[in-house]
Point group: C2
């Protein structure tokens, strides 16, 4: 029993015990303080701002909010990689745009046809298989494909400060949801492992599917037809459709998230809206009002007018990715 | 400290301590035993049938599975009540079918137009307001409307044995979901209180919605256009779309649930499918292969062929509703 006095000595000598910083990658500043102050007030029982656990819903955009999105959405890299992988089964692609350009690695020409070209490539690569087959394709790709600039795995380009945010909110009773313009079945195979967000808390864009029996075996087949685009005004509609409760906190980085933040902010009681502003050209990318990907223009104006929290990646984050 | 010997005496005299029965409204029999045996094997760590908590998904049909559905779906009573409430704003309904018959209380004639008539009445009563307004309408109705036969509140016609089942599964780490042909926004206002199922775990049929700013205030407006019918082959597709994980357990009572049960049963590892068979003409209703509402025909054959659990309401339940 020699250790007991030592333990007691340690307890007294160590002085007051402070809780560990839940957001160590966040520099002390207005953004970090606003987050912590909000969590403290909504979780304090008896406070007028107290929010019951069942109502603690937090929604996060994915591209540019939880992971990077430059020089183009990571799902677009997936599409181009899949076109290359599928080319042997489609000899006609050699002479058909946008596939011909995609196969030459000429992304710009492949995308010259705009939304229509992108949709055609998306359908050619995302439909025509069962949901289980597609899940395996995504898992294999995400485990091996590397970003052309950073040469990292795409899942290594998630934001360390946002991983801390997700954990911090969950430790305070929040259910964390993704509400992304990305494909829901493109995200689900890896969000649980990478973000701790289970498939049932991932909302995204989708194509139509069809249940059928194949030789008596039930399968769900992915059809080459859009079902829902989860962007802009689609986001609050999808939140209502899927969650049926208005978020208490919402996190985004582009004008595509503005309606989600407006919907969140307009709820009764305490609400918290946050925009990530991509200001770090050295460690990540710097872009906002004029960017084609992740444009933040109207959203930035409204965030300033409504005093939402705006995070400057450069100033507020002392670390960007999990591995420096 | 006189009490210590008494406590010790109690502990020894009381004999072995048994856990309380988690399903007291279920008679001892094949059905109850199959449920308990399944839960015990999938929750036993180290067992080959162990299912991690994150994968413990259980899906329940609502009409006829969690609450009654005779002499017609309870949401149909809601529709007829709403037509009466809205009639003053629609003088033209007096001379227009199916509304004229509905207003006279002639349900049979109102439904003579089949699916088209029902859809028309559903749209007239479920669309044209914001999601918040509709939620309030449902809450007010469900708190006061009474079933024409039993004279009970509709929420008093939920099945006590299934309430016990929901609690039992949740106590064993399952996430419980509703997957119903009923309207998702018709169920969410009361499922949390009545079943302990939060809105984000309710999947149902839906109409289209639209986010908009009204005088700067964000609202989601309900549109008179079908979005999705969550029935038959729609159920597994909706499960995949909303949950993104195959259920481990599925509960239904009609052919409309068959594809959900097929999809569940076809997963790898342990799966459990259960059909409730309405066999109790005295305490509830007796119907199956020939019923217009909740027909159980093909499903009953497949359940027998595949040895799914079939519950006879008459024989397996010693209590039907929470209040006798």
């Amino acid at each position: 029993m020699k250790t007991l006095p030592r333990i007691l000595a340690f307890l007294f000598l160590a002085g007051p015990i402070h809780a560990a910083d839940p957001l160590p990658s966040w520099n002390d500043g207005t953004a970090k303080r606003s987050i912590i102050a909000f969590i403290e007030k909504v979780t304090k029982e008896g406070s007028p701002d107290f929010v019951p656990v069942a109502e603690r819903i937090a929604t996060f955009d994915n591209d540019g909010c939880l992971w990077a999105e430059q020089p183009m959405y990571f799902q677009a890299f997936f599409i181009f990689d899949r076109i290359k992988a599928l080319a042997p089964q489609h000899p006609e692609w050699k002479d058909t745009e946008p596939f011909a350009s995609a196969l030459k690695g000429d992304v710009k020409s492949a995308l010259a046809g705009g939304e229509h070209a992108l949709l055609e490539m998306a359908m050619a690569t995302h439909a025509g298989m069962t949901t289980e087959e597609f899940e395996k394709i995504v898992k294999d790709w995400i485990a091996t494909a590397r970003h052309p600039v950073s040469k990292r795995l795409y899942t290594e380009m998630v934001y360390q400060p946002m991983l801390e945010m997700l954990s911090y909110l969950r430790a305070n009773g929040f259910k964390t949801f993704i509400v992304s313009g990305g494909g829901v079945e493109f995200m689900r195979p890896w969000t649980e492992q990478v973000y701790g967000i289970p498939p049932e808390q991932v909302i995204g864009s989708s194509i139509k599917t069809k249940f059928e029996l194949r030789d008596g075996k039930p399968v769900i087949v992915r059809l080459p037809e859009l079902n829902f685009i989860d962007d802009k005004a689609g986001k609050p509609a999808a939140i209502q459709h899927h969650i049926g409760r208005r978020p208490v906190m919402a996190f985004g980085n582009s004008d595509g998230d503005l309606q989600m933040l407006q919907w969140t902010a307009a709820g009764n009681g305490p609400r918290f809206c946050l925009y990530i502003h991509h200001t770090d050209a050295v460690r990540e990318w710097a872009y906002d009002r004029a960017s084609h990907i992740g444009r933040l223009d109207k959203g930035l104006d409204e965030a300033m007018a409504k005093s939402w929290t705006v995070v400057s990646m450069k100033d507020d984050w002392n670390q960007v990715y999990p591995m420096q």
